[in-house]
């Protein structure tokens, strides 16, 4: 630890407060009992599947396609997860095997 216990606790409090605020935000605007505009209701319905698409991109945002290893470990592992899941439809297997494969690829195959 390079900083004091007190400061460490303060950092945790600040981080926790900021994250909670981002999640609380829409509930401040629409407290229970207040009518929710149809536009917001519609967004609430269609946003979740779109967000999942965005989150997949978000997870892969650091991938560099123009430099070694050209995103090959990510592409191979994502493909493995998709195929495994289409084949067995077992969450544990898809996630576990995909992660182990990726770790193997970045640690043992595509070494810098």
């Amino acid at each position: 630890m390079q900083i004091s216990v007190f400061r460490s606790l303060a950092i945790i409090a600040v981080v926790a407060g900021t994250i909670f605020f981002t999640r609380l935000f829409p509930f401040l605007f629409f407290p229970p009992g207040k009518e929710i505009p149809p536009m917001v209701q519609y967004l609430g319905k269609v946003l979740p599947p779109a967000v999942i698409g965005m989150l997949v991109i978000y997870c892969l945002k650091e991938v560099q396609l123009t430099a070694y290893p050209y995103g090959i470990p990510e592409a191979v592992s994502v493909l493995a997860v998709v195929l495994l899941h289409l084949w067995k439809r077992n969450n544990l297997l898809s996630i576990g095997a995909g992660t182990v494969l990726y770790m193997f690829l970045v640690q043992a195959v595509f070494t810098a």
Binding site: Q2, I11, V14, L55
Partner: protein
Amino acid sequence: MLEGTADNNMGGTGYAEDEEMSDRIKIRKNSGYAAAFRAAFPHTIPVLTGYLFIGMAFGVMIQEKGYNFLWAMLMSLFCYAGSGQYLAVNFFVPGVSFLQMIFMEFMVNIRHIFYGLSLLERFSKMGKKRWYMIFSLTDETYSLLYITKTPEGVDESKFLFALAALDQSYWILGSGIGALLGEWLPFDGTGIDFAMTALFVVILVEQWMEEKNRPYELIGLGCGLLCLLIFGAENFILPTMLLMMTVLLSGKRFFMEEKEEERHAD
């Protein structure tokens, strides 16, 4: 569930023979939280896998800064965010101002601002529990709440609470294990955070099987990719959210008509 309660209230008189067996059924039906947690558990298994891995990755990282497993678990208890906690690891050194921390955390978690929009109604029926639901609204729990339907006979608000609480328990557990592992048997955890990617890919595939989700998933993928190319990895989430909402809102009529057609086809 209502039936079970009524039965129980009438008391145990008169039904001597099958008392024991029906009692067991009653207990199962009436113990609201136990039933909710039991029903919720299988649905949380994908998050269990993902959170143990990425929680462990966080534990390893924070341990390297000199914080033991208790610190790791404390942080997972109060902060509870994947990328938010990864980022926060960098704050435990001299020279980072609190204002900087707030700004960076806000930018990393800005997508959460929009998640509640899908859950306003569901959470408003949950009484005091809604505060915990809002606090625990991570990417994974959000996705889970969206794809999971409350089984019959289980109280919905207890069921949703159980999903959220189980998820967080995995996260806390994973971060503790990671910190201990990092201390006792150093291992190369490079790439372990791919578990998060794999988790979302699995959810994407699961949703893809329901045809009605496909256009929205494609919009999310497309907007994300486009904004990533334009704004770069650090700043693309807010533009992506705004672009997605613009596309979804301007296409509202089109999407709603499509839904109508589907309903007619059924």
